[in-house]
Amino acid sequence: MNLLLDVLTTSAILYIVSAGLLLIFGVMKIVNFAHGAFLTVGAYASLVSARLGLPPVAGFAMALLVGAVVGMAIEWLVVRPLYARPLDAILATWGLAIVLGQLITLAFGREVQFVPSPVDGTFAFAGGEYSAYRLLLVGAAVVLGTVLALLLTRTRIGLVTRAVIMNEQLARGLGIHAGLVRFFTFAAGAGIGSLAGALITPLSSVDPNMGVPWLVNAFMLVMVSGVSMASLLVATLVFGAAQVLLSTFVSPILGGLAIAVLAAVTLRIRPKGFARD
């Protein structure tokens, strides 16, 4: 039972971290290598909020907001001018990640810092106990996934975004302002990435380079998921399970490699990954 919960919570965490990256990849067809930096920005936003004595929810809200604003600025300054050169845009986001990391170091120092967990202790159920905060994260992942799905399928802006995901040139031809869609998508992806950073810090710690290991895993998951949020769900469940099972039964070090290796193998066998089309 604990193993199952480990798998569920790990998958939930992976989903939350990768969702923002997938959103940006789907619409703009570029991999935002600054995603790890957004995770870090969100984490530090929640650190600031904790220092100010605000309740944890304020920390999450602050992370979302700060991430979205930073995302908007970056889209306008860095990504948009490179619209015609997607490969250069990807490189630019990598450079951006370095710049953001250094700015954070200048502002907050290099040392590892901590954010208290909003929920302490365990949740007891029939089979035993489990970390309450980790269980909350499963809930957070479900809410995030549902909100994104609803936004994409039931709203006009979602419809427009899906059109741009499917075929940007055609959407443009139909009069859809693709530039605005890209702008808001990048902001949303950055905001969600920052929210993810704020959500994961109570479990571990905050430091200027905390986003890098998550970036690698998120990148692998996005590569395997194509552009579909549903296939991201499947990918995080499968790979999350693999990581937990390997870590528990073999060694945590091999478990850390699981996602990268499995992604490479999956793409070799089925280049579309988990995507349906």
Binding site: N2, D6, G128, E129, S204, S205, P208, V244, P252
Partner: protein, 388 residues
């Protein structure tokens, strides 16, 4: 013609600074190099270590310096690991040309730095507790080794908590493995069983799999030896979040980190050569001086930072005894001097290590540390048989 002129100009320019150096030798500061983990795992503790060194340097300079020369501190970031240590040691020894290295670092950093120390022929006082048996003709250690630190915790668990089975968790490098290897041998020697032994990379922060294994093994007691700083906090946070409350002996946490862990740290047993509660005039004087110098910015003095303070004084005494900073003479003198510091009288006379008074303590709900037992002048054991 032009060539001759420029050559002779170059010669004059080259000789000038040398002559100045010869004149200024008497006034040049003695440089103390301090490679320390300002980033990475140790970054939680490093500020306290730097503060200790700064106070020692300030006090010695105020009292006239060493042989009339002032001390200057050069701090470099070793990123708590081997790669950063190579850069930091290289920069300090070959660029800044320090006269001595006095520092607290992870074992990974120390092991990476020792070959550079040997090349640069600089005395090196290692002020961090560690897994023991690291030997170099240039290094002295004034902090504890497992022979001094582990027995109090294991004995207490077996006697007072009736623990017969132990689970060991550590960071996967020389310190984590070395400490737990000693603990395993010691506990098994006393009749206990080790029901699990798990390691995570030094910067790892996801202890989920390890915690599942602890739950499955149901040990009587837990002993951990992670890298100092961040891993302690993440492990304890996650242990408490998972509801694990068995007797928990942490071989690598210091008072400062325990304080920053808040309520999660309550109940942890530590074994240290320094606790702020040591009731001696020297410790009270030290704490008062630290509070006066740093005020609200003071980081709790702890078992990783106080040896740094005493080491700077040890170097001062060694230089005075050797009547200069000649590395070989200073290295010889370091084994002969004794410092009276907050931890008592520290002399690095046992194969480059020092006998130390150890305190077994438990972290309280408010983050303070309560001493349960103390052991005077515990032997360091056989650390470097080649260096008498």
């Amino acid at each position: 013609m032009f060539k001759f002129r420029s050559l002779s100009m170059a010669a004059v320019c080259a000789l000038l600074p040398l002559s100045f150096a010869a004149l200024a030798q008497g006034d040049a500061p003695i440089r103390i190099g301090m490679p320390v983990g300002l980033s990475g795992a140790n970054s939680v503790v490093a500020p306290s270590v730097v503060q200790s060194a700064q106070l020692a340097v300030e006090e010695i300079n105020a009292a006239g310096g060493v042989l009339g020369r002032k001390l200057a501190l050069e701090v470099a970031d070793d990123a708590s690991g081997a790669v950063g240590a190579q850069k930091a040691f290289d920069a300090l020894i070959f660029q800044k040309k320090v006269d001595v290295l006095i520092s607290m670092e992870t074992s990974a950093a120390r092991n990476a730095g020792l070959p550079i120390v040997a090349r640069g022929k600089v005395p090196y006082i290692y002020t961090s507790f560690y897994e023991g048996r690291s030997c170099s003709p240039w290094m002295y250690v004034n902090a504890w080794v497992p022979e001094q630190q582990v027995p109090p915790i294991v004995d207490h668990f077996m006697r007072a908590k009736n623990a017969k089975t132990f689970f060991l968790v550590g960071s996967d490098y020389s310190f984590g493995r070395g400490m737990l290897e000693f603990t395993k041998k010691y506990a098994q020697g006393k009749g206990a069983t080790i029901v699990g032994e798990e390691y995570l990379p030094m910067d790892g922060s996801d202890w989920t799999a390890v915690i599942s294994k602890i739950r499955a093994a149901k040990p009587d007691a837990l002993v951990t030896s992670t890298a100092g700083g961040a891993p302690n906090v993440t492990l304890t946070k996650q242990l408490r979040a998972a509801g694990i409350n068995i007797p928990y002996g942490n071989l690598a946490v210091d008072e400062g980190t325990a304080k920053s862990m808040g309520a999660n740290a309550q109940g942890i047993y530590i074994s240290a050569s320094y606790v702020t509660g040591i009731d001696s005039p020297a410790n009270k004087k030290f704490l008062a001086a630290m509070t006066k110098k740093f005020g609200a910015d003071l980081k709790t003095p702890n078992d990783l930072s106080v040896p740094e303070y005493e080491a700077v004084y040890a170097y001062k005494l060694a230089v005075e005894k050797a009547k200069g900073t000649d590395p070989e003479k200073v290295v010889k003198a370091l084994g002969e001097v004794a410092v009276d510091g907050p931890r008592g009288r520290i002399a690095m006379t046992q194969q480059r290590h020092a006998p130390l008074t150890m305190y077994l303590a438990q972290v309280q709900a408010d983050g303070s540390v309560k001493v349960i037992d103390s052991f005077k002048d515990v032997d360091a054991g056989t650390q470097c048989p080649a260096m008498k």
